[in-house]
Symmetry: C2
Subunit: 612 residues, 2 copies
């Protein structure tokens, strides 16, 4: 096909970035190569329609049928293409419209839960060594070990290769005195006396990564940050990323490298904020869903992506930070807490921990809504807890929704519809350019409440904002003249269907979990709602459309990013780690699809409850 191995230049506007790609490469590949994070919920499968670009100059392949289906007539005329469908056949200049960028998201890293007291795993011991002489040529390590034995009665300590590599220069730069950090009888590093040990807590989400830099002795937050998961341009969806890792020979390595690099850069930024050094970072703790930790650790994922969906590990791991490309103290490790199963990860364990679900004296449900939604149940008096996972899809992440977007600047996050009028708010009060999860939930709930949708989610004609289109009806949320992109923002029939799928899955999850454990809806005392979408959603609207079942006596508690807080707890406390392992051991995973009534429950969940 390409005997001459031709390469072409691709120029991206408005960034002005250029890359060389081979003849026939797609613009999505070119963007990735240029380090541009283009929105791409499907990961390049030509199904989400997010990776919009405008071809300004140059030659590409004709429109593919997927583009003809996903793009509107006017857009096609204006030169819009999908980057994943467009092959570079000459030097090319493309414009990236702002809705195609993954940037400036609302990143939720705070939580409104309690803090705990530190019970640090890393201990610091002061030392002062006699310098080596020709009469006393003990090795650097031996000299340090001898001192720790004689001054602190520590014996049988081990040091890993990176620690020994660091020791000779550090000891001499420090003039043979300082503190040595030790964890589990292993030397982590030596530091000057005035440098304190700090730690890094990470919540590695499918979409967002949140992190705290923490003083290990006081538990104080020294710096906090959040970034997008750079794997997003390989698919919003966990499944698309696993597929990429499985299908491409170095796919797993590529995805691991991407997230490791971002984590290391984020660490560098946090350290700059706090005015600290990499060698002070004595330990880390990272939580994430099971697929995310597998991709980070470059573990095989074929068995995770296919039935019976088995994780490679479920135990707590301590991985040398260097093996993950993280520039921390020489002997630092990342603690990766246990997972409960292929679909219930350490992030859910961390959420159960930080919300004290495992110790609750009430009948408590815990839910973390995402592309995959985990729900767990605590029954007081019972040793075991139960967790289920629902394939709720990315609708509430803004994906698979025509004008959906992440919770970024300009996203519609709240909607009220009354008397045919639309009131809405956007993130950062920008002109609206799309709708994020909470706005999508509000829209559908308000449309149903107002009678624009019937109980099976069909649009009911008779309002001027409802128009017929080839692919079904749609509701005009924002007119072109009022939008930030100059284009209409609508909710269409397909969007409502996507929301119904999510509602059906989560509703079935709740109901089957309650049924199998013999728990009456009336007996549920509390529902802990965690995560970014969960913290911003309107609970009443969630109940109106059946996303949450009718639980007459339940209090809802929106706790924010409990997973990140749980990661911090485990970072600073050995007791919290122990509790997390107990949580994982005590929690039984229930595979919903093995439950005979699952399909019926799912279908039933896709019908809206009666209007109140």
């Amino acid at each position: 096909m390409n005997p001459e191995n031709k390469t072409f230049q691709v120029q991206f506007q408005p960034l002005g970035k250029r890359v060389s790609v081979s003849d026939g490469a797609t613009l999505l590949e070119a963007a990735r190569q240029a380090g541009i994070q283009l929105a791409s919920a499907c990961g390049g499968e030509a199904s989400c329609g997010q990776c919009l670009v405008v071809l300004k100059k140059g030659k590409a392949n004709p429109l593919k049928s997927a583009e003809q289906f996903l793009l509107e007539e006017g857009d096609i005329k204006a030169g819009y293409r999908l980057a994943c469908c467009t092959q570079v056949l000459s030097d090319i200049t493309v414009q990236i419209p702002k809705e195609s960028f993954i940037t400036g998201q609302r990143l939720q890293v705070e939580s409104n839960l309690a803090e705990i007291s530190p019970d640090p795993q890393v201990q610091a011991y002061a030392f002062e060594l006699k310098p080596a002489t020709l009469e006393d040529t003990r090795s650097d390590l031996k000299r340090l070990l001898d001192e720790l034995t004689s001054q602190h009665q520590l014996s049988d300590l081990k040091a890993s290769l990176p620690v020994i590599q660091d020791l000779p220069n550090s000891l001499r730069q420090m003039d043979w005195r300082g503190v040595v950090l030790i964890k589990d009888a292993r030397i982590i590093s030596v530091l000057p006396e005035d440098k304190k040990p700090i730690g890094l807590a990470i919540d590695l989400g499918t979409t967002k990564i949140a992190a705290h830099l923490v003083d290990l002795e006081t538990g104080d937050n020294l710096a906090t940050g959040g970034i997008s998961n750079p794997q997003s341009s390989y698919g919003d969806d966990v499944i698309n990323r696993l597929a990429y890792a499985i299908r491409n020979p170095n796919g797993g390595q590529e995805l691991a490298g991407l997230v490791r690099k971002s984590l290391d850069e984020m660490l560098g930024d946090l350290l700059d904020q706090a005015g600290m050094e990499r060698r002070q970072v004595a330990e880390g703790c990272l939580v994430g869903n099971t697929a995310m930790t597998h991709l980070l650790l470059e573990l095989p994922v074929r068995q995770l992506a296919n039935a019976p969906y088995v994780a490679a590990y479920s135990e707590a791991l301590d991985i040398p930070a260097g093996a993950l490309g993280l520039g921390m103290a020489a002997g630092a490790t990342m603690h990766i807490p246990p997972n409960i199963g292929g679909f219930v990860g350490s992030d859910h364990v961390a959420m159960m921990l930080a919300s004290d679900l495992d110790q609750s004296e009430k009948v408590t449900l815990g839910i973390d809504i995402g592309t995959n939604t985990e729900i767990s149940l605590r029954l007081p008096g019972s040793e075991k807890m139960t967790a289920v996972s629902c394939a709720s899809g990315p609708a509430f992440e803004g994906a698979h929704i025509k004008d959906g977007m992440r919770a970024a600047s300009g996203a519609i996050d709240k909607v009220r519809i009354h008397d045919g009028q639309v009131d809405l708010t956007t993130i950062n009060d920008q002109l609206p350019i799309g709708i994020c999860g909470s706005g999508i939930l509000d829209s559908v709930a308000e449309l149903y409440q107002g009678g624009y949708l019937n109980e099976t989610g069909r649009f009911q004609k008779g309002n001027q904002r409802i128009r017929s289109r080839d692919h079904g009806a749609e509701f005009l949320l924002v007119a072109a003249k009022d939008s930030g992109s100059g284009k209409e923002i609508v909710i269409n029939q397909k969007d409502v269907n996507e929301v119904l799928l999510a509602v059906g899955a989560i509703n079935a999850g709740f109901n089957i979990l309650l049924e199998i454990t013999g728990t009456a809806h009336e007996s549920v005392d509390e529902v802990i709602v965690a995560g970014a979408f969960g913290s911003f959603l309107n609970i009443q609207n969630a109940i109106r459309i059946g996303l949450f079942p009718h639980l007459p006596n339940a209090q809802f508690r929106q706790v924010g990013n409990a997973a990140a807080l749980g990661a911090k707890w485990m970072l600073i406390s050995g007791e919290a780690r122990q509790r997390a392992q107990e949580i994982a051991r005590r929690t039984r995973y229930l595979e919903l699809t093995t439950y005979p009534k699952f399909s019926r429950q799912f279908a039933r969940g896709m019908i809206f409850p009666n209007r109140k």
Copy 2:
């Protein structure tokens, strides 16, 4: 100097290899880049005169003064240059004369010492797992750990990241049954039932690397091999290599990478020989002098190269094989036994172990002669042993000797001179092209015995084979017409001086060691002579010139490569590892230069003993 960043092509004959180098790079750098191991005892310092090349075509800088000093008139006319002095100023073609190659050496990997019974560190346990189902989605690691607990009562086992990375695919390929290898409560790997665990024992010498592939259960040798240390082109001498690592920003990394790659290739060859697989290699044990293990481990060496010459570590280490670039079983480690000091490495510990020096009931000296020579003393009834190190120089490695060479094909290894006639043998009975260590020792001893040299090593005129030259007298060993290279082979005054330096250093080491420990020469019962040169040298000649002191009641035992054997013992036996740690702990290192009489002893050692 080089604003345009020009590059030129260098073509090496007779290999036909080509490389591109930047304007002004030396031919030695070009050769290294091309992967050609050019002899270079000084490591590119323009002092050994070994890296001879013939400039066939192209432009280079004019002769440097070092070349004018080191090269002969005729050679200069014939186009000879030193690769380290010759800068590439255009596309160039060079011829490498065969004496400049480091190849085909006599590599001694066998030893005439006893073998021991295995006491393996790695245990194998059979397992058969129930495959994962939707009703039983335990993770792969958990499933294996549960089986090991229920079938073999093993608990609290750990697995490193590479092991978990390997597990999912291996378990499924093996259809959930096989053996699991475990060491120190860590999982090393899973294997099909018909694959046995094997190990790798390595003696990492400055010049040569010897290795055995060993059946861990029986202790049988499965394959044996030897290669040159690829760092040789950076200097024959430990000091030159340390200097390279210190002076160049990535020098340490470069030298480590070079030897790691060679070790991994050697392992591949041994496995091919034995018909085994990398995943079977469950553990390794590597011994070497302290500088060599530091360079392998990429440890800082500045403190090792400068007084007071301190090692970074002296304890036994277990390093993940992957961290050393060695393709072994996923969780395999390399055991690196303890060293005694900056100048007495784990190879000497291994030699003391394999020759049972630590358990001898006689007054025993152990000596390993190299660029650095280690001597240790065992006094029965005493807990402590004592070791010294002598900077004997590389004369017996063939370096710093005008016609010196390694113990390779065509090297003169034995010499007899009687009535002005020279009898000699060469390795592999090839035409002589140079002299290796044992030939150099023989030559000097025979010249002294025959009266051609006086007791201070000055040439005595009056024989037609002794000629005056600008830089002193020389003795014609082989005429040009009888040599393999068509050039004369001589021993000159400078060569004799180099030998005298080695003799003085080693003699002083012996005598000071005996004096400080209050050991009379007469009371020494046994001298264990280890190593390649030590195994081939003529003991009588060594005594004649004072390389070994007069020990009237001593038996000399030439034991071959005892260090490699010791490495194998430690590979297959936990008891041997324990003994090695005891040897290191019990052996006191004595820095000769701190001894007040050192200089006097050294000078005295440089006078030949009376002729017998």
